[in-house]
């Protein structure tokens, strides 16, 4: 059966088959279903945006792909390998850059190589990646000296130096101001086009989702599931005010409004300005 699945999905970089994940509810008796029977197939080199209101399971989906959580049922595959745990071939960048504060920028970027014992062999790549994200002048600075954008660029370089097959981006630009954010969107696209890494971007920003992605996965909560997948066929670089862009924006807003009336109306309403209610930076202990 497994072989059949592989055969029928030739060319997919990532496949999620019927994945379900639940967490204990606060009363510790019931369980909240964070992600319900989700199936998704991502082509190699594709850029996917995942959008939806809080609690729709998009971060849970990313953690399952990263291997940091194990699904209750269902399977996740990268190429021909089943995901059983975290691996360097699936990089993850959070909203909080989570740089190791005790390491300089350059040492943060090389930490993936150190962890895998490849530093000796691949040391020249460290400088290459520092250049790639334009942080030559800050190579020996500690993270607390960096601006939000620089810190996030460091986090991107740290994830990319492992040459992951899939890069998972969990609202990486969510904490940045509007201008830095737009510049960083182009930066991420540049990295994606240069390296052709498969990327999955979770975001609250509808414009960001349309601007970046080949396909947008719209998710809805209670329980978290994929509402619809929308293909974006606009040419790059995209114009944020082109008629097709605005039409897509309207379509996604409509999708989320419908669910907003049924479930959390607050999320649907705040979606009018193209931004969903932002989640606070994850700082769990």
């Amino acid at each position: 059966m497994v072989m059949e699945n592989q055969a029928s999905n030739e060319g997919s970089a990532l496949r999620i088959l019927d994945a379900t994940k639940s967490f204990p509810a606060p009363d510790n008796v019931a369980r909240n279903v964070a992600l319900n029977a989700t199936t998704l197939s991502v082509a190699a080199g594709e850029f996917i945006s995942i959008i939806g209101p809080s609690g729709c399971g998009k971060s849970t989906l990313l953690r399952l792909i990263a291997g940091l959580d194990v699904p209750d049922s269902g399977e996740l595959w990268v190429g021909n390998d089943r995901i059983t745990g975290p691996s360097a071939e699936r990089g993850l960048v959070f909203q909080d850059p989570n740089l190791f504060p005790w390491l300089t920028v350059s040492r943060n970027i090389q930490s993936g190589l150190v962890a895998r014992g490849l530093l000796q062999r691949k040391r020249p790549e460290v400088d290459e990646f520092i250049r790639l994200v334009g942080l030559e002048k800050f190579a020996h600075a500690y993270p607390h000296h960096l601006s939000g954008g620089m810190a996030q660029r460091t986090a991107l370089a740290r994830a990319l130096i492992n040459h992951p097959r899939v890069l998972l981006l969990d609202e990486p630009l969510g904490a940045l101001d509007a201008f830095t954010r737009m510049r960083m969107q182009d930066e991420v696209l540049r990295l994606w086009q240069a390296r052709r890494t498969t990327m999955l971007l979770v975001t609250h920003d509808i414009d960001e989702a349309i601007y970046m992605a080949d396909r947008i996965v719209v998710m809805t909560p209670h329980p978290g599931r994929v509402e619809r997948t929308i293909t974006v066929s606009l040419d790059r670089p995209r114009q944020r005010n082109s008629p097709e862009f605005l039409r897509l924006r309207g379509e996604i807003l409509d999708l989320l409004h419908l669910t907003g009336n049924a479930g959390e109306s607050a999320n649907g309403k705040s979606g009018k300005n193209g931004l969903l209610e932002p989640e606070p930076a994850a700082q769990s202990l």
Binding site: P86, W102, G112, S284
Partner: protein, 345 residues
């Protein structure tokens, strides 16, 4: 090179400007090179020297002007420094900061002499004048040096041993929930017992007083360092560990390259607490068992009612302990240089 005489003149507008910029500045903290600050140390020394020489006091006959020579030396160094600081900006900055403290220290000596030697408010022989203490320190310098050396060796052996064991137990208990289940109760029950309470047992069990003292000091250090290491390791931000896992980290990397560095600020709090308890344990152990060291010297001198020597040993102890504390702060500043807003020692 400018003639020295010009500088006080050029310093005046600078002071005025600073006072304009920050009228709330109070004199001791003022960063300006004001002449009051520079002259405070020589002035305080002169007053102290004058009181020592002019007012009648009952110095021991053998003092032979040692204290006067000491004060004269301080005066000479202070005046020399006041001259040199015009040419050396590093010294100038240091003196701006430190002069009021030194002046206060010298005035404290002066007050001490007034109370003990001149006014006789405190009974002899328990409270000798500073001159007598200085005399004891110089007379007994060989023994004091030997005692300081023995204290240092004992303290460092116990401290290093305790820290090494504490780091191992702390990391194990902090990292593994299995180890925490079995280790935490031991830590909670045995740890809070003051190390000095083990003295009777240590004397019976151990072959030598020195060995049992090392064990006691190690025990005193072990508890706080272990406790803080455990909390530091166990509170490592989960997202750091998540990131490291997605970068391909092994368990070894997670422990040694993520959890331990993340716990370092906590570990240093434990190291400082442990240093404090190790001083206490050292002095008690030397007083009770070991026949050398500064703690032993204090009780030995007290036995002979030589309180000058007691004070001399206390002064050396203060310098000795604060030097070790400073060394640890320097180490911390180096190791935790990455921390934002760390207070430099």
């Amino acid at each position: 090179m400018l003639p020295i005489g010009q500088h006080p003149v050029s310093a005046v507008p600078q002071i005025a400007k600073e006072q304009l910029e920050n009228p709330a500045l109070n004199p001791p903290a003022a960063p300006g090179a004001r002449w009051q600050t520079l002259l405070s140390v020589p002035a305080a020394t002169l007053v102290t020297l004058a009181i020592h020489l002019c007012l009648p006091n009952n110095e021991p006959a053998n003092e032979a002007g040692l204290y006067s020579r000491f004060l004269a030396g301080v005066l000479a160094v202070a005046i020399l420094a006041d001259g040199v600081q015009f040419l050396w900006s590093g010294l100038k900055r240091w003196m701006r900061n430190m002069c009021p403290i030194f002046a206060a220290a010298i005035l404290t000596l002066c007050g001490w002499e007034l109370i003990t030697g001149v006014l006789h408010w405190l009974p002899l022989p328990y409270f000798p004048a500073p001159g007598a203490v200085l005399q004891s320190m110089v007379d007994d310098r060989a023994l004091l040096l030997d005692c300081t050396w023995h204290s240092l060796v004992l303290l460092l052996s116990g401290y290093v041993l305790g820290v090494l064991i504490a780091l191992v137990t702390g990391v194990c208990i902090g990292w593994s929930s299995h180890m925490r289940y079995w280790g935490m109760p031991v830590l909670k029950v045995v740890g809070p017992i003051p190390a000095t309470a083990w003295i009777p047992l240590a004397m019976v069990l151990s072959p030598s007083a020195v060995f049992s003292s090392i064990i006691l000091i190690a025990l005193a250090v072990w508890f706080p360092v272990t406790m803080l290491t455990v909390s530091g390791i166990a509170n490592t931000r989960a997202s750091y560990l998540d990131v490291a896992r997605t970068l391909g980290a092994s368990r070894w990397y997670l422990i040694f390259r993520v959890a331990i560095p993340a716990a370092m600020p906590n570990i240093f709090v434990g190291l400082f607490m442990g240093l404090g308890t190790s001083f206490l344990t050292l002095v008690v152990a030397e007083t009770v068992g070991v026949k050398s060291g500064l703690g032993w010297y204090v009780s030995w001198a007290q036995g002979w009612a030589e309180y000058g020597k007691v004070f001399a040993a206390l002064i050396i102890m203060a310098a000795f302990f604060s030097t070790i504390m400073t060394v640890l702060f320097k180490v911390r500043d180096r190791v935790l240089g990455w921390q934002k807003g760390i207070i430099k020692w």
